[in-house]
């Protein structure tokens, strides 16, 4: 039985991560009555476990146009969600440790330049050590985007949640979607004993979005990631930019609190159905080695906590953003493959375009669900 009180809603967003929140915020501001259904609590998965790097550097060219627009939105984030979300534009730097790795950086720079982009810049050792005095002197050069940076995932979640709610979005936590049916031209969504009916559904269910897509009739192959993070004790200011390195798994930065936040895509393991993830310390040791090689002074610091966060991963590591190729009224936003935090502001705006105006000027052709569905061998 549909809830009478919910009869008036026109969009159901499944998943209360940052993408679900951003979509609901933009939709509500465009006048839609939106309900967010979140199985556990807002931000429980990828969005609160994120490294929250706001990075355009080294992005796939296919998602670079929307990523650059998202970057502008980040620089204006206070106006959008009433909080700076802890965003600090201290730059993102991809370091070459060996002369042979400089060629990798040069090749990347040539690629973006040829496509007409100028945001990336190659810097030499002198400029690198000027920007990051603590970095090991064996590093020879780096690619940098000076306007990139990082935010605080918890502040970002709080700001998006608060803005969505004040725009009129209703968030139901503890409601896991278990079945979806077509009822006339509407969708009836069943979640923990309640049901919700609306003509439009947004699938922002993160690592579980493949299951939701299947309930809606789309068979979209989705793998998963379980990226691991390390946080150390607090220390005096050590560096400002976010540092990654060619050929090794590392992303290294210092938070406002003074802790070092170390990630870089090293994989733990996950039992997606059980919603559990596990740290693999043998793997994580590689991250610790990369960190102490690049910043020898940090070796004695104590690790305070580590974790692995679960997220959906596609074959080509690009997200699925756009309407369902088969089901009307269904929109997908998932498969961010470990780099969706930066895209949060823009993807919500894109979904609102698609749902409210029936189309968007933004460049999302490469992100359609079709591309993945076509690849699946015929049964």
């Amino acid at each position: 039985m549909p809830d009478v009180s919910e009869a008036a809603i026109d969009t159901i967003v499944i998943g209360g991560g940052l993408h679900g929140l951003s979509a609901s915020l933009h939709l509500a501001r465009a006048g839609r009555r939106v309900v967010v259904l979140e199985r556990s609590w807002v931000g429980r998965h990828a969005s609160s476990s994120s490294a929250a790097g706001v990075r355009t550097l080294n992005r796939d060219l296919a998602e670079l146009p929307i990523s650059l627009e998202s970057q502008d939105m980040w620089h204006n984030i206070e106006a959008i969600v009433g909080s700076d979300c802890g965003f600090r534009a201290y730059g993102q730097v991809n370091v070459a440790e060996h002369p042979k790795h400089v060629a990798v950086l040069e090749k990347r720079l040539a690629l973006t330049r040829a496509a007409g982009y100028t945001h990336e810049e190659l810097i030499d050792r002198a400029e690198l050590t000027r920007l990051i005095p603590a970095i090991s002197s064996h590093c020879v050069a780096a690619l940098i985007v000076r306007t990139d940076g990082a935010a605080d995932p918890h502040l970002t979640l709080r700001a998006f949640r608060r803005s969505a709610e004040s725009a009129g979005v209703t968030i139901h936590e503890g409601y896991g979607v278990t079945a979806i049916e077509r009822v006339g031209s509407d969708w009836q969504v069943h979640a923990d004993g309640r049901s919700f009916v609306a003509p439009t559904v947004v699938n922002a269910a993160g690592a579980w979005a493949g299951d939701i897509a299947a309930m809606l009739g789309d068979d979209i192959p989705l793998g998963h990631k379980a990226s691991m993070m390390i946080v150390t004790e607090r220390i005096a200011p050590l560096l400002k930019p976010v540092v990654s390195v060619v050929g090794r798994p590392l992303s290294f930065k210092q938070s406002d609190q003074g802790t070092l936040v170390i990630g870089g895509g090293l994989q733990g393991s996950a039992d997606i159905q059980a919603q559990k993830s596990f740290v693999d310390f043998s793997e994580l040791a590689k991250g610790a080695r990369a960190a102490t090689d690049l910043f020898p002074s940090v070796g004695p610091l104590r690790i305070v906590r580590t974790w692995a966060g679960m997220e959906g991963k596609t074959d080509d590591h690009l997200p699925v953003v756009g309407p369902s190729p088969t089901a009307s009224g269904v929109y997908h936003a998932f498969g961010f493959s470990g780099h969706g935090f930066q895209l949060v502001p823009v993807v919500g705006a894109i979904l609102a375009d698609l749902i409210v105006h029936g189309g968007t000027n933004r460049c999302i052709e490469a992100l359609s669900a079709d591309r993945l569905m076509a690849r699946r061998p015929a049964a």
């Binding site: 946080v231 150390t232 596990f278 043998s282 610790a288 690790i303 906590r305 580590t306």
Partner: protein, 466 residues
Amino acid sequence: MSRTADLVIVGAGPAGMAAAVTARRHQLDVLVVDEQAAPGGQIWRDVEAVSCKPQAAFLGNAYHEGLAAVGRFRASGATYEPNTKVWQVEAGPRAFLTRDGAASSVKARSMLLATGAQERPVPFPGWTLPGVMTVGAAQIMLKTSGQVPVEPVWIAANGPLALLYAAQLLKMGGRIAGFLDTTPAIDVSATIPKLAAAAFAAPGDLLKGLGWIVNLRRHVPYIRHVARIEAFGTDRLERFRYETASGVAATVDAHLLLVHEGVVPSIHPTLSLGCVHNWLGGQDCFAPALDAWGETSEAGIFVAGDGGGIGGAAVASLRGEIAGLRIAARAGRISAVEAQAAAQPIRSRLKRALTARSFLDAFYRPRASIFVPADETIACRCEEVSVASIRAQAAIGRPGPNQIKASTRAGMGPCQGRQCSYTIASVLADAEGRQVPDIGLYRVRPPLKPLTLDELASLDDVGCPT
């Protein structure tokens, strides 16, 4: 480096040592690791070295029983690695450790967690000021280095450990400015039957406790039913105020205030393993669910000693022996029937040893404000989050501990919630009209012990069998 063993035991206290001796009797290959420099655990800390020092004379008979237990353990043939921190335990079972700055892992057929208890945190306004410290920490100094505080100390505490410490301190020439007994007035009708049972089962223990109190009251100002404490000072403790249940209050100058409100099982390892835990209402804490042999809900992972529920040294040893038998059976060294037969007499002794427990639990139950302290109290000392700010968050939705952690940073600091998880759960339960067992504790994120980046970088378990 990666190794294997039939049994890896974490913790060389009464439970761990007894299990090691039992498992070795059945020829298991046993590795015992412990953070401390010598076997004995909390109760028999450093007992071999101390037995030759002057303070030995003052530490009491129970301490000397430890010497015999350590002797049996040393002779058992178990591999013993002191100064070793276990910072991660996994199903498998597998343990990750560091020793001398190098990390390694051990894969075992069975793992016994004998990691004991931790002092229950004692939050009250001002409890984080330097100069306020726990009786347990003071006792460690007394046991290992014979350190007696120069100035007279104040003790505000509840429970046998504090009485024992006070007695030891006086014998070693220390001075006590005053003993504020925070044990609440007992509900006589509920406690008398338990007392009777306890007196019947273990009269010696009870008399010993009474003896300490009588002796203490003869030598130091002794104030009963202290219900409220508030500490003041700019950079460290300067003064504190106390008030009894009947409203008698005083403010005194002090530089050292020792507090204690009993101990709770240290459950971080079993929480991180995802083992099922039960709420022990009588002890106001969680403990891993264990079968009759001490096995947790994770196959091959056992708990013995205070980590499975507070029982004291004698209970811990017996439970260690029982677990050791089952572990020997798992390894195929004895049959299930043999293990059962061998366990029989130990279980009878265990039953007797446990009789006094429920009386002690009821008698020494902490006052309510230890669980839900006043608003201005710091709940999480690592991140300096007050009770008031937890309450403010509780007003938005019905958050659980993990959401509180994300929104306030409480529990994110170096102690990883060991100090504040019960306070957060109790404050949330109070604010949301729920029960602590329904609220639960933070999800535990590894490592279990602080580990440096250099130590993790040294981990090389290539070739580890999985």
